[in-house]
Amino acid sequence: MNIPRRAVFHLATGATLAGILPVDARAQSRAETLRYVTGANINTLDPCVPGTTRESFGLSMNVYDRLFAFGRKQVNGNWVFDSSVIRGELAQSYEMSADKLTITIHLRPDATWQDGSPVTAEDIKWSLDRAVSAKSLAPPQFSTGSLTSPDQFRIVDAKTLTVSLTKPDRLALANLCVPYAIMINSKLAKQHATADDPWALEWTKTNTAASGAYIVESYKPGESVILRRNEAWKGGANGKLPFFRRIILQTVPEAATRANLIERGDADLSIDLAASDIPTMEKSAKAKVISVPQTNGFTHISMNTQVAPFDNPKVRQAIGAALPYENMFQASLFGRGRRLYDASWTGSPPNIDFPQPMPLKTDPARAKQLLAEAGLPNGFKTSFAFSTGAAATAEPVAALVKEALGKVGIDVDIQKKPDAEFNTMEAEKKLPFFIDAGTAWLPATYYYFYLYFTRDQRWNFASWKNTRIEELAALARFETDPAKYEAECKEMIEIFADQQPLLMVWQPNHDAVMAKSVDGYTYQFYRQADFRDLVRA
């Protein structure tokens, strides 16, 4: 079944490339083409299927529209996404009922799919139904916005829908902005649905039914994707079309080659160069670097709070006092990022931002004292793990952890594990002590606690069980009174700072390296390039 379809696809792309494209392509100047090089793969055009790479999330943001999108703001001269501003993308406007239980969504009257047919409320209803019911990675995400059943989405007229909620979930609207919330041309997708696959998940892996700013012109998994601007796109921030007419996304596995390409001016943008290349790039005549701390992410050193000796908070606090944070930060990232330690507050945090710097300070004497209080004056033996994929930044940390803990009597065995093995052991909670990183798409304080510090699930890195945190996270989620929400968040942060299930150490910089002429780069919550914002000056 697959082979004929693939053959047809080949013929079709072959015909386009040989016939129409070259003339068209030559007419478009290089200036209006952006060449983006990456070490990662784009493995699907549908971001919802299991195994989707981050690169594929990024692509889908440019190809598919969502109902809503986050705004952006300037921080220290750089553009950063702003989740406090939610604007319509495929929606023109929305109204929230006074009880915050009903969202009425008005679609753009002139919006069309990439095949030219109009966007209707039926398409949107189908897409939302798919998001909460298809066997994909989308339903668990949408459940964090209390969107769980197709019954919640009702069509009012051809261009209006309502979303009803049972509780006033503060992240319902924000969830409609995430990569999974793609809006699909249902008429087109339904033609490829089967009895086994009613939501056409198989077809959308290699085909698109979108309305977004860019149209996929050719897709070679693991090699390249070529995008063409959708001239009929209406979803822009002020109705404007993106600057670049053509985008070439190319997989170039070798970081040194990507750096060479940019320095030679043959490629325009890369966001995953080796950390050691960044300082050279900053001095380069042809390239520039935009560095933004990953404000919705964090690197953490986790301890399994369910097994001895880390089930004792005093042991965790001892580790927290023994680590040489500044040395680790310099050795791992050369200081390129935001510190999440060394805060001067005690007791209650100054605000409810999260992650925010915690009052973690290096104090070996206190560490020894805490160990003695925990009944382990002579220390203990443990292992410290990190994944091969993160070795460049994690290996120096591991060495410093071993050295510093050795001084307070804790004997650490460093374990470097292949990514798949590390992930499996982490998910099965078999690592006692390790370094890893996390990111939340929706940077709301309660969401971090809900995602990373509650329930027996994979992302609860430290397997932390704290009934008060669970209560507070549940309360904060549906809290409509801002003052109460703030109090609840502050209390969660206080408990976190005291119990130290894991040590949030820093937020690494997101380093985007681009040609000097490229402007408007925005750091997005999904940590990929948004081509729609980019211009060539």
């Binding site: 090699e223 060479n260 320095e263 798949a420």
Partner: protein, 343 residues
């Protein structure tokens, strides 16, 4: 006609005998992949907020919740019907991926082998003719250098000099300039496809793109080929018939090429077969450095992600190619030395 039939019979028998070996390779790879730590379901259900339920669902979809013998029987059935499974890394059927990527690897490896042979045989002969001379030492040094510099170092070095500093080579990414159009997919070998369609500009573009990675690979296999040529030539040059030929006053060139080299080629052919198979599987570093969309880098990516199907398919493919290459070498023995094909 008779010799042709004999060759054919031999080939048929060889292929038949290799079937159990291939089966063994399939089973061993299958078991090995599952013994390795790392659960593909966990790795691929890595989306934010993907929980236990999603992991179990994925495991079920991949058939990993069944006992291993059941999985093996299923897999063997699939392989027998030409279905090698689906890659989670690229999201494509493995057969389609291999079909798209194998020509890229073969084109690169063949070109590299041709370059290596063109360089190593004359070098080996030259070294054998004057053993102990500066030429011999020079060749030895070149070989040592080629074999001890890892391909990713020589590759990056070549890129740095010829692309970054001099700007002579096209940018070292993929099989053809990303802004140029690819040839229609006839054989999958760009050089052949461009030649078939008469697009000589495209052919030149693909050829220049191929040179740097091919040279990198050729440099690495120069040593075994040149050393083997030298050793074998030395043995032949010392034999009676060469002395006779010299005594009869034949032209030196004729003695070296027609009598000595032809007789010295057998061991070189054997080593060429081995070198070719090794190159095809082991050129992963060259493929990575030059962003070459070949099978080796594909298999490595899959292995790192514990993606079973592509790795198993890759090993099976390599085993098959190894068998085929050995059969081909056997046939070539007959061409180089007619005595061999007589049973």
């Amino acid at each position: 006609m008779k010799t042709f039939l004999a060759i054919l019979r031999r080939v048929g028998r060889r292929l038949l005998f290799s079937l159990p070996a291939l089966l063994g390779v399939v089973v061993v790879t299958f078991v090995l992949m599952r013994v390795l730590p790392g659960d593909p379901a966990v790795f691929f259900a890595a989306g934010p907020s993907a929980g236990k339920a999603e992991i179990d669902e994925l495991r079920h979809q991949m058939g990993l919740d069944k006992p291993m013998p059941v999985q093996l029987v299923r897999y063997l059935g699939d392989v027998a019907t030409g279905n090698l499974g689906r890659s989670l890394t690229t999201g494509q059927p493995v057969v389609a991926d291999m079909r798209a990527r194998l020509p890229a690897s073969l084109e690169l490896t063949c070109t590299a082998l041709v370059i290596a042979l063109f360089l190593s045989i004359p070098l080996g002969v030259a070294a054998a003719l004057r053993p102990g001379s500066p030429i011999d030492h020079g060749v030895r040094m070149l070989c040592t250098l080629g074999v001890c510099v890892p391909t990713f170092v020589s590759g990056l070095l070549l890129i740095y000099v010829f692309y970054y500093l001099l700007g002579w080579a096209p940018d070292p990414t993929a099989r053809i300039d990303i802004f140029a159009s690819t040839p229609p997919d006839i054989t999958g070998f760009y050089l052949i496809d461009f030649a078939l369609t008469g697009d000589w500009q495209g052919w030149w573009a693909a050829f220049t793109q191929l040179l740097l990675p091919a040279f990198t690979m050729a440099l690495f296999v120069l040593a075994p080929l040149a050393r083997m040529t030298r050793a074998s030539m030395l043995a032949v040059l010392g034999s009676d018939f060469i002395r006779t030929a010299n005594a009869l006053g034949l032209k030196p060139l004729r003695i070296v090429v027609a009598y000595a080299l032809r007789n010295a080629l057998l061991p070189v052919l054997t080593i060429t077969g081995i070198v070719f198979s090794t190159m095809l599987g082991a050129n992963v570093l060259v493929e990575k450095v030059f962003s070459w969309p070949g099978v080796a880098s594909y298999a490595l990516d899959a292995l790192l992600a514990s993606d079973y199907a592509p790795v198993q398919a890759f090993v099976l493919l390599m085993a098959t190619i190894f068998v085929l290459v050995n059969v081909l070498i056997d046939i070539l023995y007959g061409v180089a030395d007619p005595r061999v094909s007589v049973e």
